[in-house]
């Protein structure tokens, strides 16, 4: 019983990482209808940057947030203006999907060349520190990860609801044409959405690096998980994506406990498939 509760807790903590990635996907998909399949590879890329900062310069992973997140925001805007600007304007979305695929290919192989395909991990002095609460182990890094994920979600939520440009982002994801008629510049909104998406990928990457080991090919897996979390939560809500991620994390860890890791993945994809066919708006999404 304790083991199951331990699994649920671990699942929640794992799920927050999927959730953070899913919010980024949700913003990009909501405004531009781009399935940014490279999100996972970008996350792993930032995990590697964090690894480098830690090993070469001795920067603490959580301190490197201050360095990496601004870089990520700029990179996100650069991705939009450099790669996706023309494709986002087209009705045909295969172009943007393929650019994302190309980016994923490029990043995966770049990372394989630069950092070799061997798994890496950021091992900090406090990495194994854990609290024991009623017999349940709570790793410090995972708790910090949860905290950062919740803070990031709150930050994005406040940004989207309280600021003018955030409102514009929400308006664009509701209805692109109407928002353009209202005088919203779609380019700027899309660039902001992309920047936040990549920024969240950086946060997820650092959480990932400080808790798990990673290798270059792992990105696609993470992107798929983020996509599942997104469909579970429903496209268009920030908290929905986070909750979707948490549900997915719990399903995955419980699946590993009961049927083994390979079938647990199959269960995740089955949940994905069933959600798509039975509840396409997600569990928390708006019903159209």
């Amino acid at each position: 019983m304790v083991l199951i509760i331990q699994d649920i807790v671990n699942g929640i903590l794992l799920g927050t990482m999927y959730g953070t990635a899913a919010i980024g996907l949700s913003l990009v998909f909501g405004t531009m209808r781009i399935v940014f399949i490279a999100q996972g590879s970008v996350i792993v890329f930032f995990a590697y940057l964090c690894y480098w900062l830690f090993h070469l310069l001795g920067v603490d992973p959580y301190l490197s947030l201050i360095l990496i997140v601004p870089v990520a925001l700029l990179l996100g805007a650069a991705f939009y203006y450099g790669l996706f600007k023309e494709a986002a304007a087209l009705k045909d979305r295969i172009g943007s999907l393929l650019i994302a695929v190309g980016l994923m290919f490029f990043l995966e192989n770049l990372m394989t060349v630069v950092w070799t395909p061997n798994p890496r991990a950021v091992v900090t002095s406090y990495g194994f520190y854990a609290f024991n609460l009623f017999g349940i182990n709570l790793t410090l890094t995972r708790l910090i990860g949860l905290l950062i994920a919740i803070l990031a979600t709150l930050g994005v939520f406040i940004f989207l609801t309280k600021t003018l440009i955030g409102t514009a982002v929400r308006a664009t994801s509701e209805d692109v044409e109407a928002s353009t008629l209202m005088g919203i510049n779609p380019d700027r909104v899309n660039a902001v959405a992309f920047a936040i998406g990549i920024g969240l990928a950086a946060i997820a990457g650092i959480n990932f690096a400080s808790t798990y080991s990673f290798d270059p090919i792992y990105g696609f897996d993470v992107a798929l998980k983020a996509l599942i979390a997104l469909t579970l939560g429903g496209i268009g809500t920030v908290y929905g994506a986070l909750l979707g991620g948490i549900i997915l994390g719990v399903i995955e860890t419980l699946g590993v406990y009961f049927v083994g890791s390979a079938w647990a993945q199959a269960i995740c994809y089955a949940v994905f498939f069933l959600t798509l066919t039975l509840r396409p708006n997600g569990l928390f999404g708006r019903t159209s």
Partner: protein, 343 residues
């Protein structure tokens, strides 16, 4: 004969030298017969190639890979190019085809021991087609195309795990090893691949020129409008998806006969999903000629790139995908139109 009269040329098209040439020919002869002549000549040229080029050379292998890519791309082209449904599960159908061939062979189900048994190859196409119908009906009944893309991806990942955990039946990650020794020469593979590439292209050509093809194009243009004109959308989409998967499955079967080692890493690689997309989009999505051009270009880049550049080449192919999509969104076939429009 009414058709033989040369109509006065429009001022804009008169400047085009090819139109000038055409105006000397009987109208009826013009496009169709030239096309048929070119196609027949190309097929004869490729068919007789093994007689004067060493068939075991790298060049012949490259052509074999190109034919394989053409089959794969035509299957995807029918679903995505003409119907507008982006399938992300091609690798699953490819693997299903390969595994069907391997399992039939290993268990000697059809009692045929020779290679490229048409019955086995057709069965290897039928199994993916049935799989396509099963996952196509729930995913294609949604109006939005994204659900289909995600659904096929999810189904493919489930299939990957089923194959990996298949126990004795699929031998998991080790894969199946076929008992045959294979041919000592590429010749038979080359001709079979060529034949199948021609058949796949012909199938796509005739389907898209038929009534079904018109319906598929109508669905691609505007689903609501197509439905209001009495086209049963789901039926046509599932049909196209099943035929596309059938072609993909046969391609997988051909690859199984070539490889002799069927394991998830070889046949369920994500490359088998991205390759047809890349080939179709580079060549020109929704055209018959596009996938053929795309297959030759991508085949050259991938097989020669692998030899010449080694580890760096997948990185370059990523950049290539981005560049093509950014600067050539209509593909190489569309390039001709873009140039002629600019004039």
């Amino acid at each position: 004969m009414k058709n033989n009269i040369n109509f006065p040329e429009q001022s804009s098209s008169a400047r085009d030298p090819s139109n000038l040439l055409k105006s000397f020919m009987p109208l009826k002869f013009q496009r169709k017969h030239i096309n048929i002549t070119v196609i027949v000549l190309a097929v004869i040229a490729f068919g007789t190639l093994p007689f004067y080029v060493n068939v075991d050379s790298f060049f012949a292998y490259y052509l074999f890979i190109c034919f394989l890519y053409i089959i794969l791309a035509q299957g995807w082209n029918l679903v995505a190019g003409y119907t507008g449904q982006i399938s992300l599960g091609t690798h699953a159908f490819f693997a299903l085809g390969a595994y069907t061939t391997a399992i039939i062979w290993l268990h000697n189900i059809t009692h045929t021991w020779y290679y490229f048994d048409p019955l086995v190859m057709v069965l290897s196409g039928v199994v993916p087609a049935i799989f396509a119908i099963i996952i196509g009906i729930p995913t294609l009944s949604r109006l939005r195309g994204d659900y289909f893309s995600f659904g096929t991806l999810a189904a493919a990942e489930i299939l990957r795990i089923v194959i990996l955990r298949g126990g004795k039946f699929t031998e998991g990650a080790m894969g199946l090893r076929l008992p045959g020794t294979g041919f000592t020469t590429m010749g038979i593979y080359y001709w079979t691949a060529l034949l199948l590439a021609v058949l796949a292209t012909a199938a796509v050509y005739f389907i898209t020129r038929s009534r079904i093809g018109l319906a598929l194009k109508a669905i691609n243009e505007d689903e609501t409008s197509a439905a209001s004109h009495g086209i049963h959308i789901l039926q046509y989409k599932v049909f196209a998806f099943a035929i596309g998967s059938f072609i993909t499955g046969i391609c997988g079967s051909l690859y199984a006969y070539y490889l002799f080692m069927i394991n998830p890493l070889a046949v369920m690689n994500l490359n088998w999903m991205f390759l047809p997309i890349l080939i179709c989009v580079l060549g020109g999505n929704g055209t018959v000629l596009g996938p053929i051009i795309g297959a030759f270009v991508i085949g050259a880049l991938f097989s020669y790139g692998d030899v010449l550049l080694g580890q760096v080449h997948p990185m370059l192919s990523g950049i290539l995908i981005i560049l093509v999509m950014k600067f050539l969104p209509t593909g190489l076939v569309g390039l001709k139109d873009r140039i002629s429009h600019r004039r």
